[in-house]
């Protein structure tokens, strides 16, 4: 089709590499306001605790916490500490990194998982990684516990939890 509309010369992959390129590294920087709910959540992670918000409308204990209930559309009511243990809702196993590079033969695969946290409502929890586990032995419904960074290394980030391990 391209020949009919835009006549031209096809390029080989070698010729492509020789072509003139424009490389851009846009300097996009943001400093997102964490606000009330996420601000408190991150502050508690630094202390090695997980905090949720409860809604008296639907009686859910919501994690991550939020200042309004998206289903009842009303302000949430109370802060509630929850456990750092839970159940694997779903998981997968990947040998591909964030930047699409392959993990080396000696690197363990990454196991992202949704962990339903004990004390939070059914279906609510934390998306994190599993560790200290043979990927072949991970099961949906498996019980896991957070492995925290040492206190001095915590920054108030989700990565203050290193991973969840079976327990």
């Amino acid at each position: 089709m391209s020949k009919e509309i835009l006549p031209g010369t096809p390029l080989s992959s070698e010729e492509f590499e020789k072509s003139i390129t424009i490389e851009e590294h846009p300097n996009l920087e943001y400093s997102w306001d964490d606000g009330i709910a996420i601000g408190r959540y991150l502050k508690e992670l630094k202390e090695g605790r997980i905090i949720a918000r409860t809604c008296c409308g639907c009686n859910r204990t919501m994690l991550p916490p939020r200042m309004f209930c998206e289903l009842c559309y009303r302000p949430t009511d109370e802060w509630a500490f929850v456990e750092d243990t839970g159940v694997v809702n779903t998981f997968c196993v990947t040998r591909v990194n964030w930047d699409a590079s392959r993990r080396g033969p000696d690197e363990p695969p990454l196991i992202p998982a949704v962990v339903e946290i004990d004390g939070a409502s059914k279906g609510m929890g934390i998306l994190h990684l599993l560790g200290e586990v043979d990927p072949k032995k991970v099961k949906i419904g498996m019980r896991v516990k957070a492995v925290w960074k040492p206190k001095a290394q915590r920054e108030g980030k989700i990565t203050d939890i290193k991973y969840f391990k079976p327990y």
């Binding site: 851009e24 998206e70 559309y73």
Partner: protein
């Protein structure tokens, strides 16, 4: 127009240079809650939701996926207009006019304070082959326009500076404005040159904020609001994206958008049929240029209208009484929402000390900023 569309309520939060106490979700929730409360509805009563947003300003791609929780739009039809608030309003009007929905909500917000280098985002909007490699501040596009506009019109740098003084003074009467100030023409002219003739104070500073509008079909609007404000006409247009062959001095997209809206609203003599104007003033000269594109004054004559005091709150063509973007703060894609909000407050006589008497019809016009050539126009009335 086959069905009449009314604005039932508008909820807003802001507008201030920073909002560190609220996440963008909490900011939107604050504005949306007010809009729903004023309309006496809950989000469950809304048929469709529209957000106006630009991913690069949010800081993540597919930002439309992040707009629903705080609007109460979970499990509801939602879409995002990657454009100006007024374009989203036009979309809402079309949905109601077509009978697809009876109550439609439009949302847009600015967390401009969270963007650490807005110029990089504007630069990224330039054509990578023809323009970006020149490595010039993206304000240059406004400088090129301002130079050409001043040559083709009777406007001078001093006239443009007086727009800044007027709008920032107007903002002092607007409790929602983030940048009201008493400054002088000399201050503006002496401010740091950015892309001459554009100087630092001739560029609208930015604000954070959120605006949520509840629109409804006529019978629903009448049942929800004692005084709905009616959408009389909508228009939008985009000129060529090529910087090399634009009509630099002429507000072409404003003209086309206005003609589209005027035709729908039955406006033939804008200066006589429209009582107040909230127009683009992202850069000071833009306000003068816009009034010409809107045919409120003749081509090249806006400066003269300013000289005669016609654009002030007491003039016969009150323009940017709210303070405009120069005085309220530019709100990214929510900018047109603030302009519409001012018309809504004025037409429902809720504008407090800046209330213009006997207003029936207002016009809002917004531009998507450098390096775009997109403008949108909405005309509203209270009868």
């Amino acid at each position: 127009m086959n069905r009449k569309v009314g604005i039932v309520s508008m909820g807003y939060h802001g507008f201030s240079p920073v909002t560190p106490d609220l996440s963008f979700r909490e900011l939107v929730y604050a504005a949306a809650s007010k809009a729903y409360a004023k309309a006496g509805i809950g989000p469950g009563d809304v048929d469709m939701f529209i957000c106006a947003a630009e991913d690069f300003c949010e800081g993540y791609s597919i930002s439309d996926e992040y707009c629903n929780d705080q609007l109460g739009a979970v499990l509801k039809p939602v879409h995002t207009v990657s454009g100006e608030y007024l374009q989203a309003i036009a979309n809402a009007a079309m949905i109601i006019q077509s009978g697809l929905g009876k109550i439609v909500v439009v949302e847009s917000h600015s967390k401009a304070s969270n963007i650490k280098n807005m110029e990089a985002i504007h630069s990224f909007g330039l054509d990578p082959v023809f323009n970006r490699s020149l490595r010039v501040t993206p304000h240059f596009a406004a400088g090129l326009e301002m130079s050409r506009y001043m040559t083709e019109s009777k406007a001078t740098e001093e006239h443009c500076a007086r727009i800044v003084v007027k709008n920032r003074t107007n903002a002092l009467s607007n409790p929602n404005a983030g940048h009201g100030a008493i400054i002088s023409v000399a201050d503006v002219l002496a401010s740091d040159p950015v892309a001459w003739p554009v100087s630092r104070l001739s560029i609208a500073p930015r604000s954070d904020g959120c605006i949520v509008t509840v629109l409804a079909e006529e019978s629903v609007a009448r049942s929800l609001a004692s005084e709905p404000v009616w959408i009389l006409g909508t228009g939008w247009a985009t000129e060529s994206s090529t910087l090399e062959n634009r009509a630099w001095g002429e507000p072409v997209s404003v003209d086309i958008a206005a003609q589209m809206a005027y035709k729908e609203a039955g406006i033939t003599v804008p200066s006589q049929q429209i009582d107040l104007f909230e127009v683009d003033d992202t850069y000071s000269f833009k306000e003068l240029q816009a009034l010409e594109g809107l045919h409120v004054v003749g081509r090249g004559q806006a400066a003269h209208a300013l000289d005669e005091g016609r654009l002030g709150p007491d003039g016969d063509l009150p323009t940017n009484v709210s303070g405009g973007s120069l005085g309220v703060g530019h709100l990214l894609e929510a900018t047109g929402g603030q302009k519409l909000l001012e018309l809504f407050l004025q037409l429902t006589y809720q504008a407090g000390e800046r209330q213009i008497p006997d207003v029936q019809v207002g016009l809002a016009q917004a531009w998507r900023g450098v390096p775009t050539t997109t403008s949108a126009v909405i005309i509203v009335g209270n009868e």
